[in-house]
């Protein structure tokens, strides 16, 4: 470990709410709603029609360009193909499947127990065919990231930091599917042949660390790196900085500094795709927060409605204030529970107002400089906020607003309770419009 990243915050992690309960296995919903856009890039075109019978794992959507296919997560009948509420808040074309509870499996993907015989192209094709994307929430196509990392990367990092408060789905994955993660890492290693392979995990995941230490005792390739708990340790640029001491230049990808970062769940799905022939049809979702009665982790099929997952966690309390898809620092607030889970849904959080310090009213910026102290991208949020207010695009550019990763450290720490991230998103939009 070279040097830790600059800035950051240390909010109460509240992981104890969901980390101590058993993983609840595969829920079987009556119907699933599978959006055709579950990744960054172009949406898929549906490959099925209303009335079709589909099998579990059958490819139901695919497209051109930056696009990975999506699969049915249950067997049954397609009852609708129409725009439905997506966790991002938009309505996205989705395939709705009524479950016949037969779990009739599609067998078009082959299992390769011995992946060492596979060529690089074959592995890349399998990763794409299985619909794997960055499962930490970034949802960038894994086949493209892996391909562009080949021969360019000397350091491969498995991201198990899970630095957002509340979320424990990666923690649970490491504890219950350890071997899948490690085998997935070995498959990607075969592909990109890095010199150094690091599994980075924050120190607050004690049980997972114990298991990994045991598993990796005789492993010469994978290096377990336990990092101090600090948000946003799991942000790609900050993680690379911590692990290698290298800084990714503005506008560049990790490959420019010979690094590649994948979420641990992405590795687990790579293993399942290559060795078991399974596409992405389910994942572990944390349902937690003070406003839900029985927080926990659930193996849930892609396309399960938020309502069903929240019910499985005992339902909402009366004082529910916000429901979030993703983490409390960067996730999306939901208007209601009508959205369905996608590949990148690591958690559904139900928050109450009391625990979250928002009760205090907004004041003006007092120039305390706390935002400067916590910004991991070395920005000066107070000045960006002032310039955004006046729509001074030139100044926003000069002060590197586009470098902002929207981690929310500044807004979290701001004593004036200013909506900094919201304003910065608007500022970025202004810059993009001006560049057109």
């Amino acid at each position: 470990m070279k040097s830790l990243f600059f800035g950051g915050i240390h909010p109460a992690d509240r992981k104890e709410l969901s980390a101590n309960t058993e993983l609840v296995s595969m829920m079987n919903p009556k119907q699933v709603t599978i959006p055709m856009l579950q990744h960054i890039g172009n949406p898929c075109n549906p490959l099925v029609a209303v009335g079709d019978h589909v099998k579990k794992g059958q490819k139901i959507g695919d497209g051109e360009g930056l696009c990975v296919p999506v699969h049915a997560s249950v067997s049954g009948k397609v009852i609708a193909i129409e725009p439905r509420r997506h966790p991002s808040g938009r309505d996205i074309l989705s395939v709705v499947i009524e479950n016949d509870f037969q779990d009739e499996a599609d067998t078009s993907m082959t299992a390769h127990k011995d992946y060492s015989a596979l060529s690089n192209d074959e592995i890349i094709d399998i990763i794409r065919a299985a619909g794997i994307v960055g499962m930490g929430g970034a949802t960038f196509a894994t086949n493209i990231k892996a391909m562009s990392s080949m021969q360019k990367v000397d350091t491969l990092i498995a991201n198990a930091c899970e630095c957002e408060p509340y979320i424990t789905s990666d923690d649970m994955l490491l504890r219950t599917r350890t071997e899948q993660v490690l085998e997935g890492m070995r498959i990607i290693c075969q592909l990109i042949r890095p010199e150094r392979v690091v599994l980075a995990v924050e120190a607050n995941k004690k049980r997972a660390i114990e298991i990994l230490k045991k598993e990796l005792k005789d492993d010469r390739q994978i290096e377990l790196l336990v990092l101090p708990t600090r948000y946003p340790q799991g942000a790609e640029k900050q993680l690379i900085q911590t692990v290698t001491g290298r800084e990714i230049a503005p506008g560049q990808l990790p490959a420019s500094e010979a690094c590649a970062v994948f979420n641990v769940a992405t590795f687990a799905f790579t293993y399942r795709a290559v060795c078991l022939g399974q596409p992405v049809v389910e994942r572990i979702v944390t349902v937690s927060g003070e406003a839900v009665k029985n927080p926990g982790n659930f193996v849930s099929r892609i396309g399960t409605s938020f309502e069903e997952l929240v019910e499985a966690a005992g339902g909402l309390k009366e004082n529910t204030w916000k429901v979030i898809s993703g983490g409390p620092m960067m996730g999306f607030a939901q208007e209601d529970l009508s959205a369905s889970t996608i590949k990148g849904t690591s958690s559904i959080l139900c928050l109450t107002q009391e625990q979250n310090g928002e009760a205090k009213e907004e004041t003006v910026c007092i120039r305390c400089g706390a935002c400067v102290k916590v910004c991991p991208m070395n920005l000066q949020p107070l000045y960006l906020y002032a310039y955004e207010k006046k729509e001074k695009i030139e100044e926003l550019n000069r002060m590197n607003l586009m470098d902002c990763i929207e981690c929310g450290c500044c807004a979290y720490t701001c004593p004036a309770k200013l909506p900094l991230v919201e304003r910065f998103r608007n500022g970025k939009r202004l810059i993009r419009e001006a560049n057109k």
């Binding site: 909010p11 808040g89 408060p165 800084e247 990714i248 230049a249 503005p250 909402l316 204030w321 916000k322 429901v323 979030i324 409390p328 620092m329 960067m330 996730g331 999306f332 607030a333 939901q334 208007e335 209601d336 529970l337 959080l349 928050l351 979250n356 310090g357 928002e358 205090k360 004041t363 003006v364 910026c365 007092i366 120039r367 305390c368 400089g369 706390a370 400067v372 102290k373 991991p376 991208m377 070395n378 000066q380 107070l382 000045y383 002060m399 590197n400 470098d403 929207e406 929310g408 807004a411 979290y412 720490t413 701001c414 004593p415 004036a416 309770k417 909506p419 991230v421 919201e422 998103r425």
Partner: protein, 323 residues
């Protein structure tokens, strides 16, 4: 069930403007208490008048300038309190009121309110009073006079402060212990170094201020007065310079005012050092024995430039190397 839909982050820290101001007020209570102990209830009355006038001015600003009430953020209380602590106990009550009103209305309000003022309001208020009624601002009572609220100020026994002696230049008659515990003539809140240090450490512990500005400020004064000491007791000369006058009050409570100090770590050190250099220059070569007020006010004017020069290096660029 409908839920609140607002931008991330969805959790916020506990820190709040009002809490910060309250911390500053709490941190100043020891200094005020010692002032009242030495100079009597009149010191308390001057403080009450100053705070009251500041609050009244803030209320007017809210009505006329900001179009919303800002009384609750407590910043006016801080300004009124800080101004009072820089005044001698013998000032007429109306002087404290005029200084506070000038600070809150002109220095802060006309700049756009909290966070927008270029100059530290309390110090600018004090500078304004020195300009118009210098005679009231140099009439220091002896420690232990214990004036009551209604005592005539004309009869008060006034005395030279240790800094007056040092202008001779000569080491003051007071012992260093007297200086440290505040048993000397001076302004209400500046005499007791111990009480000010306690308050300063509280603010650093609470995370309200960083140690950079006070350390750079006091460190620079210490080094300069040690190297350029007057007389043969260099070390004692340095300590008298640190404990005497308003430098400790200034370093912990005035120079650290958020609105009028830099936000970058490097900038804060530069700014603190600048305050220290100017303080020593003003004390050595100025007409008045003290230089803290003008040193800090002058550095206030440089804050924008300092922040620009010391902007953090852009992430992903090597030092001094453009993209």
């Amino acid at each position: 069930m409908k839920f609140e839909v607002t931008s991330s982050p969805h959790i916020r820290g506990k820190n709040h403007t009002q809490r910060i101001m309250l911390d500053v007020i709490l941190a100043l209570i020891p200094a005020l208490a010692v002032g009242v102990w030495h100079f009597g209830m009149r010191a308390f009355a001057v403080t009450v008048v100053s705070i009251g006038a500041a609050l009244a001015a803030e209320w007017v600003c809210g009505l006329v300038l900001y179009h919303r009430s800002t009384i609750k953020d407590l910043s006016a209380v801080v300004t009124g309190l800080l101004l009072a602590l820089t005044l001698p106990v013998t000032v007429p009550y109306w002087t404290a009121a005029v200084g506070s009103i000038f600070a809150v209305l002109v220095v802060k309000g006309f700049c756009g309110g909290l966070g927008k003022n270029i100059f530290n309001p309390a110090l600018a208020g004090r500078a304004f009073l020195v300009l118009l009624w210098p005679v009231y601002l140099v009439r220091y009572a002896e420690a232990g006079v214990k004036l009551s609220v209604t005592d005539s100020i004309a009869d008060a026994v006034t005395s030279a402060t240790p800094l007056h002696h040092m202008q001779m230049p000569a080491l003051p008659e007071e012992s260093l212990a007297d200086m440290f515990f505040g048993n000397i003539a001076g302004s209400i809140g500046e005499v007791c170094t111990l009480a000010l240090l306690a308050g300063g450490i509280y603010l650093i512990w609470r995370g309200v201020i960083s140690i950079r500005i006070p350390a750079a400020y006091l460190g620079t004064v210490a080094v300069l007065t040690l190297v350029f000491s007057k007389g043969d007791q260099a070390f004692a000369w340095m300590l008298y310079n640190l404990f005497g006058g308003g430098v400790v009050l200034g370093a912990f409570f005035m120079a650290t005012d958020y609105a009028s100090s830099p936000v970058t770590p490097k900038g804060q050190i530069l700014y603190g050092a600048g305050c220290g250099i100017l303080t020593v220059i003003f004390r050595y070569f100025g007409l008045f024995p003290e230089g803290v007020t003008y040193a800090i006010l002058l550095m206030n004017a440089c804050v924008w430039a300092i922040d620009s020069w010391t902007a953090p290096r852009r992430f992903g660029t090597k030092k001094g190397k453009a993209l």
